[in-house]
Amino acid sequence: MGQTALVTQSGQKPVVQVIDFHKRYYKHPAVQGVDLTIRPGEIYGLIGPDGAGKSSLMKAVAGVLTFDAGTVEVFGINLDSEAAAERIKGRIGFLPQGLGLNLYPDLSVEENIDFFARLRLVSEAELAGRKQRLLATTRLLKFRDRPMKNLSGGMKQKLGLICTLIHEPQLIILDEPTTGVDPVSRRDFWAILAQLLHEQGITALVSTAYLDEASRFHRLSLLYEGRVLAEGEPDTIQALAPGSLVVLQPERQMEALAGLKARFPQVEALGSWMRVFVNEADPPTAIQQVQQVLAGIPVRTIYADEPELEDVFIALLHQQQLARHHPIKAASAETAANVRSGNGVAIEALELTRDFGAFRAVDDVSFRVRQGEIFGLLGANGAGKTTVIKMLTGILRPSQGAGHVAGADMHRAGMAIKQRIGYVSQAFSLYQDLTVVENIRLYAGIYGLSMADTRKRTEWILDMGGLDGHENDQAGSLPMGLRQRLALGCALVHRPQVLFLDEPTSGVDPIGRRHFWDILFDLSRNEGVAILITTHYMSEAEHCDHLALMFAGRIVADASPAEMKRQVEAEVGGLLELTTDQPTLAMERLLEQGYKETTLFGRRLHLFSRQPDSDRRRIPALLSAAHIEVASIMPRPLSMEDVFVYWVTTLERQESAVATGTG
């Protein structure tokens, strides 16, 4: 079977062997000296932010990109020429980056599969069988005649996988298959991928920008700016930056934050909570060190937790001195004076509804955002998040309902609202050919700022965004993180009281994202700005004071992140993580035994248990009866992603139950 096979095969020749790989685009180096070895049967991960060099490396391995130095060997064939690269193509499958972009939108699901099969000379008899099986596994059977362009993101991604697998390759190379897909579809995709690869003994090289997907891989490389930061099994990488994570809830937040930032490089504020990564310290020492810094500040709760890969990633960057430290400036006296006292309501949505023809995009949505609060709107693609923002900002008229933004009525005072809000949209709103300062001046002009004010705000934005030294760079030439902070700065040029952010951090690397959130936190706490934000990074949702989860146009949950987790735990029980040498077999056994919410994460299993304490004893016994050794079984805190997946799958189940009940 798969796992035992993996052990015996690890002595065999590697499927992919990359040594000292270099790739540059004109003058810009993309990859600088990467080594990589992939063994048969592995799922190997390349993890890193945009621009880390993942795509270049994968394309070179797939034999579709030239490179400047180093060697790339696939199936023992040295890819030193186009002709040599041709020799591996019968045995590989390659899924390029971009959700569904390599598929043909006007062809149906079946026609897409047929095209890939014919391109690969799969016989019609074989094709029929494989198509049926793959469509069934991916639950796309009933959509086989639907044009690809009418599929949801998750379905496009699964179709892409089928098309990559239809000729039964020995190695598949998937470039960011989960980017832009909602968490539910992402989990589904990983489960299907693991199952198919296991069944056919396929080796896979998969890249992702989501650090929290690392546990899906057998082994992985962390890439950053064209170099390998770390490689190995997820646990080994975790051990490279030893340390503990201290989670606490201090009283005087800003004071605590300033103190901690001065002492520790990795501090994050999450609503009323804070996370501090303490280098090279075991949990008790870490807690002690944090408490020392906070002398005098009362702390409500404090405990130690296992650091996540993102913490490790950033710690590694600090170790190798690749990360720049961004101190947050203390609020100036002028801005501090602007803080509006009290708990005034900044945004209020009252039974907002919006129809597009017969389709109800937003259905009876009500919520409130207080001054100085960060409010997160979560939901899968198409849940209605952007439509809500557009209605509140006065871009779109609601079909029904009312709203107040910054004290103005949404229906009557559209212009007043626009003067009092800032908006950073999903689609980038900067002028790429203008320089940083020109962009800021343009927005200052649009909002009618005086010369003196413009000068003052330009300085403030450059300072806030860490844009010093880039004043005369064109916006288009800036890295994503800087561009995003410039966009934020432009939206803040007129000192709005309310800020709307629509997926502002897509494509920004973890360090850039943390810097961005530091600014948002500072804005909300020191300047009293109310912030409404949408995001598809579930880990970011933890930064919000309050969350609303949208599903099919409705708000289905509305609470603080911690409260949401408590609700889900009350419904389905606690989360247990199980480590074993035969995870696939163990999963089959557990599913048979009625642990329905069991999912595979690389070599580990996650399962929900209503009686975690008794199950922790019962499950190892149960599995050892089937000769499966359990290395460990530990309770784990729920992540926001667990919460999101729980809600969406439950609601989808209800909806399909209703649909089958009536139809």
């Binding site: 390029p96 972009l101 690969r120 000379l121």
Partner: protein, 384 residues
């Protein structure tokens, strides 16, 4: 060459073009629209120009003079007007485009042998047609005055009309227009439009076909598979050649049946030559598609190139013989000029393969050269 893989690409391409509404319109709608627009637009044949007379003389001779205009197919007689003011109003309103004013004592002065000035008011807003209208008026006027002169001389000298004619016009120019007997500009231009429109639309389709997949990333399906460059290029080319050839047939039908241009040549030869011209143009587009990265760039290059060659170097508007120096040389570098020769030959002169084989051979050679370049430019392992 594996035919199965080639056909897989061709079939997919065909399906996509038929299903993508924009692409379908580009493939089949655009040529028809261009033919209608250019067919009516380029043609400077001005006929049925609305005309009115202001006759202050009301004599037999003035009516006789007016009759020359009324009978002409170039003018559409709208009636007699009472005053110059009335004519002004109608000209301003666009109801008539020419007003001719016959002064008082027109007949009396002519009979007395005095010269008479006829005032002709022409709507000059559009200079092109205005000049042409002036030309028509000139011609009709000299014909009319010639007749008057003749009858005057005949009457005074007591000789016959024929004798009088030889006296006033000793040399008579007799022109017979060959091939296009009625010298209709439309008959000349409309067939050439087939050349021009295929020069624009055929490369446009292929120019978009590869670069579109480069933009989306679907080209990696090809790069990462076992298909060979030749199979892929042929698969891309085939459906597009078919579409452009269908368009050539539609355009031919429009030219002959809708615009009424006579076709005197051999239909089989004409479409045989047209097929190779289409292959030439499609290959040109394919080459462009391989060289650029965005659909916008591909579109711009094909349109700009098509217009420059079509308007300046094809012989459609400016005869090749009238080009000088480098322009003459440049014109000979593109197949458009040779296809224009084929069109002129097939439509108006009934020339066939026997006379036009060099042109057809040139198309074949040209296509081979372009496709060879495509083959060497196409790599399944790229730099970027």
């Amino acid at each position: 060459m594996n035919l199965k893989r080639l056909l897989a690409v061709a079939y997919k391409e065909w399906r996509e073009i038929l299903r993508d509404r924009i692409f379908f319109l580009l493939a089949f709608g655009l040529p028809i629209v261009l033919m209608l627009v250019f067919g009516y637009g380029i043609t400077p044949d001005v006929e049925n120009v609305p005309l009115a007379f202001v006759d202050y003389d009301h004599s037999a001779l003035s009516r006789d003079y007016a009759q020359h205009y009324i009978e002409s197919r170039y003018f559409n007689f709208k009636g007699y007007l009472h005053s110059l003011q009335e004519a002004d109003g109608l000209l301003t309103g666009g109801k008539i485009r020419v007003a001719i004013v016959i002064p008082e004592h027109f007949q009396e002065d002519l009979m007395a042998g005095r010269a008479v000035a006829i005032q002709t008011l022409v709507d000059g807003a559009n200079t092109g047609p205005a000049r042409i209208i002036q030309g028509y008026a000139d011609g009709i006027n000299s014909a009319a005055s010639g007749e008057l002169q003749m009858s005057y001389i005949a009457r005074h000298l007591g000789i016959s009309l024929e004798r009088a004619q030889t006296i006033i016009q000793p040399i008579k120019l007799e022109v017979r227009y060959l091939y296009n007997q009625e010298v209709r500009i439309l008959w000349d231009v409309a067939p050439s439009l087939i050349m021009f429109i295929l020069l624009l639309t055929a490369p446009m389709l292929t120019a978009l076909s590869v670069v579109r997949e480069k933009e989306t990333g679907a080209i990696y399906n090809i790069y990462a598979s076992t298909i060979s460059g030749a199979e892929f290029l042929a698969g891309k080319l085939l459906p597009n050649i078919l579409i452009s050839f269908i368009n050539a047939v539609i355009l031919w039908l429009m030219v002959t049946f809708y615009f009424g241009a006579p076709f005197k040549g051999n239909l089989l030869f004409f479409f045989f030559a047209t097929l190779f011209y289409v292959i030439c143009n499609s290959s040109m587009g394919l080459l462009i598609s391989l060289m650029v990265r965005t659909q916008i760039a591909a579109l711009m290059i094909t349109v700009v190139l098509g217009f420059i060659i079509g308007i300046q170097f094809s012989g459609m508007l400016t005869p090749i013989a009238a080009l000088t120096g480098s322009n003459y040389v440049i014109a000979h570098l593109f197949p458009a000029m040779y296809y224009n020769t084929v069109i002129q030959g097939a439509f108006l002169k009934n020339l066939g393969l026997a006379a036009l084989w060099p042109e057809v051979t040139l198309f074949v050679a040209y296509s081979a050269g372009l496709l060879g370049a495509c083959y060497f430019l196409f790599h399944k392992r790229t730099r970027t």
